[in-house]
Every structure is written in structure tokens, then in C-alpha cells.
């Protein structure tokens, strides 16, 4: 294994069993609905630090799970 992600149904598995999914996040400061949609379509928060994200357990239950990973260290923090 390398980065290990815990699937609440299947247990802890290497990252390679999963498919990454971004949890899109449009800041509340963008008020205009059209601008919100445009931001959601293309922009990324892309933080260096803890970020909630979704992973699809392709090799196991084939369901999405959500974790918090620190992109600075690749540690799963939640």
C-alpha cells in the first residue's frame, strides 16, 4: 500500500482501489447564480491543506465515501 484510505464498508485499502472525486466548493462570496455556476463548472479551490473529498471504492463496494485529506502531507485527517 501507499496512501491508505478507509472505506467505512470495506475497511482500509490502498488508494489505487479508489477513484478520486472532487467535492466542489463555490465560495459564498460569489452571489450571482450564473457566476456561481461558472465557478462550479471550472474553478477549483485547490487548497494546500485539509480538504474534504470523495473517493469511489471501485474495487470494493463501488460506493462513494467522503474523507478529509491534507494535500500538503497526503495524510487522511478525518
Amino acid at each position: 500500500m501507499s496512501i491508505r484510505i478507509t472505506c467505512e464498508h470495506c475497511g482500509t485499502r490502498p488508494l489505487e482501489e479508489y477513484v478520486y472525486g472532487e467535492v466542489l466548493d463555490v465560495p459564498a462570496t460569489i452571489a450571482d447564480p450564473a457566476e456561481r455556476n461558472l465557478d462550479r463548472a471550472f474553478n477549483h479551490t485547490n487548497p494546500e491543506g485539509p480538504v474534504p473529498e470523495a473517493w469511489f471504492h471501485l474495487y470494493g463496494c463501488r460506493r462513494w465515501i467522503t474523507i478529509v485529506r491534507d494535500t500538503a502531507t497526503d495524510r487522511i485527517v478525518d
Binding site: H9, C10, G11, R13, P14, E17, Y59, G60, R62, R63
Partner: protein, 129 residues
């Protein structure tokens, strides 16, 4: 011996699935909270009106005695198997999506029939003989 398994898939609300009754003698693999893979014949009773219950011919399996299966898994499976048997586990084994049913004496390897050729290539010859 490698065989096509008689499987019934039951997709239902998780709490309904918790209450469901399965045919005696069947093996029930809870592959997801809302999904049960029932191996063996018989009728499943589930109280979810919207449950999807389907015969599923897409799975094959092979029973392997415990010792050789553990030896194989040590060289093909990077994650720890449950320490107590009987148990169900699923994940990548030899880079294939495999479901395991582990009993005291034996291990059942379950995989999509469409991947049989890959499974055979990655497991001991005698399993598919």
C-alpha cells in the same frame, strides 16, 4: 473448481436489508450497505417496496482450502484479511476486484465472470483445472 455462481442480487434500503430473510444455506455477501449478493438458490424476503431483486449470472467463484488460499493471498493481496472466520471481505487481489467468503476450512473467491481469463492467469493453475 471454477464455477459460475448462482447469485441473487438484492438492492434495498439498508435497514430493510438488515431485516431481510435469506434462504437457509445461502451465503450472503453484503457488498454494500444497500446491496446483498446471495449465493445459492432460494427466495429472499425484503420489506422494501422498491427493492431490486434480480438473478445475477455475472459472477464466478472458486473454493480453495484455507492453507493454500492464505498462502496465495499473502502474495497477491496487500490488505489484511479479517482475523476471525467466517467473514466477508472485498478489494483488489492480484489487481482484480475480488470478493472473499472466508470460512474455517475454505475460502471462496468471487469475481466477475467477464474477468475469468485474467483471474485464471493470476491464480494457481489447479484452481481452474
Amino acid at each position: 473448481m471454477l464455477e459460475v455462481l448462482a447469485v441473487t442480487r438484492v438492492v434495498a434500503a439498508p435497514d430493510s436489508l438488515d431485516r431481510a430473510t435469506f434462504p437457509s444455506g445461502s451465503i450472503v455477501l453484503r457488498t454494500a450497505p444497500d446491496d446483498a449478493m446471495v449465493i445459492g438458490g432460494g427466495t429472499v424476503q425484503v420489506d422494501d417496496l422498491h427493492a431490486i431483486v434480480r438473478e445475477d449470472a455475472g459472477w464466478s467463484g472458486v473454493w480453495v482450502n484455507r492453507a493454500p488460499s492464505e498462502a496465495y493471498l499473502q502474495a497477491s493481496c496487500s490488505w489484511p484479511r479479517p482475523s476471525v472466520r467466517p467473514a466477508f471481505a472485498q478489494g483488489a487481489i492480484a489487481h482484480l476486484p475480488v470478493k472473499l467468503w472466508l470460512t474455517e476450512e475454505r475460502t471462496l473467491f468471487v469475481f466477475p465472470t467477464a474477468l475469468t481469463a485474467d483471474f485464471v492467469e493470476r491464480t494457481p493453475q489447479e484452481w481452474s483445472a
